[in-house]
Amino acid sequence: MLDHISLEMEKGKIYGLRGINGSGKTMLMRAIAGLLHLTEGKVMVAGKTIGKEISFPESLGLFIESPAFISRYTGHKNLLLLAELKEGIATFEVEETLKNVGLDPGDRRTYRKYSLGMKQRLGIACALMEHPELILLDEPFNALDESGVAQIRELIIKEKERGALIILSCHDQAELESLSDEIFYMRDGKILS
């Protein structure tokens, strides 16, 4: 449950969420993404109320709790399928994003044969491939090796420089502090500071 949270966030910044398990970080991200039906209060993104004027933020990249993909498709095919729905994103952009997260677009292996780290990278590619205005990343560094962490960190910074608003939750305090412009500490569904 989220309790009296009032936040205003700006484009081109990274906001970190920190707190113990169950403190409400993921729940807050879900609420911002429009995945939750709020019983009270409202979330506004780019001047539009989520759940009333629009179901989801118009330009959203979402990575919450390791997203699942179609297991018999390759990572490339999974992303192409999603890109088709969104329109306005070319195949080469999908391939470029895959390369940027350290995956080979020509890899013939299906998603079910991916390692945990590869699945994580694909999920991040999925969130970033359309260069959305709002990016929600819940524990993006989980299961990644050192080079993976560096690659994703670099990508996040690039997206920030492009002007995206990024909300990031991460258990690694040093990582969160190095990336975030501002950090919110959460406990029991409340923002402490």
């Binding site: 995945l35 939750l36 179901s55 989801f56 118009e58 979402l62 993909f69 729905l85 969104k86």
Partner: protein
């Protein structure tokens, strides 16, 4: 255009997921066909001309209304029951699984939650249609292609007098009403699976079917697909035209409720469990 793409995704994924179940459907109808032939042989009717309609009557015969005071035990018509269970299995968990997995990414790209629900309704329609097509394929292989029943054949085989049924009545009862009834039940199950869970929805549907076999009531729409409980052969039975209207109204209501539910749905909630 994007909605059509979403529908195509659901049709493809849903079909792939249900491939094994469709195969099982084929086996089930093959078994029913064997039973049909066995009954024909047992009643020395092998030489009598029969049509696909007679096979459909065999499948939708059902049982007469249960009367607890009659002293006879309660009996669920197995062929009727298994058909409905099979359809229930086809519906079961595709929607909830999609919602907990890939569906979230689809939804945020569609930017409308209800587009996801309507796409699932299209998938469900196609699933029910495919189920009935399998049935029809077996029906066509079980007798001559006709839209008329062989009255003598049915009278000798089941003691059923279908002479009073016109071609239109047969069309309505054997082709249209079963499809509409299946569609309504499937929609209801899909809605329940969102509200509760796929497994509870499946269990509730089994319960609903058992109650349908126990009581004769127009709102227990399982009765719609039992010829022995229709007004054609049983006074006080189900009026087919009313049943068509009831199933259509119920289907529409479930689609509307699903639309409302989806708009207010907390996505990912179940993924936490």
């Amino acid at each position: 255009m994007r909605f059509i793409r979403l529908c195509c995704y659901d049709l493809r994924q849903g079909f792939y997921k249900n491939l094994g179940r469709y195969l099982f459907c084929g086996i089930l109808f093959a078994a029913f066909t064997l039973l049909f032939f066995r009954e024909i042989e047992r009643n020395y009717l092998s030489g009598v001309t029969r049509s696909c309609v007679d096979y459909l009557i065999f499948l939708t015969r059902g049982v007469i209304e249960y009367n607890p005071e009659s002293g006879t035990g309660f009996e669920i018509p197995l062929i009727w029951f298994l058909q409905n269970i099979m359809l229930s299995l086809l519906v079961s968990n595709y929607v909830t699984e999609d919602l907990e997995k890939f569906g979230i990414q689809l939804m945020i790209r569609m930017r409308r939650k209800h587009a996801w629900w309507f796409s699932k309704c299209v998938w469900l329609f196609s699933t029910v249609f495919a189920f009935h097509m399998i049935k029809i394929i077996f029906a066509l292989g079980s007798g001559t292609i006709s839209i008329q029943a062989n009255a003598d054949f049915n009278e000798r085989l089941y003691g059923l007098d279908v002479r009073g049924m016109s071609r239109f009545d047969l069309l309505l009862f054997l082709w249209i009403l079963p499809f509409l009834t299946s569609l309504t039940l499937a929609l209801f199950q899909m809605y329940l699976s969102l509200v509760l869970s796929a497994i509870y929805a499946f269990i509730l549907m089994i319960g609903y079917l058992v109650v349908s076999a126990f009581y004769l009531h127009p709102l227990l729409i399982g009765n719609n697909t039992m010829l022995l409980r229709s007004a054609f052969v049983y006074t006080g039975g189900i009026d087919v035209k009313k049943a068509v209207v009831i199933t259509m109204v119920l289907s529409l209501l479930v689609i509307i409720f699903g639309y409302i539910k989806t708009k207010r749905y907390d996505i990912l909630e179940r993924g936490d469990v």
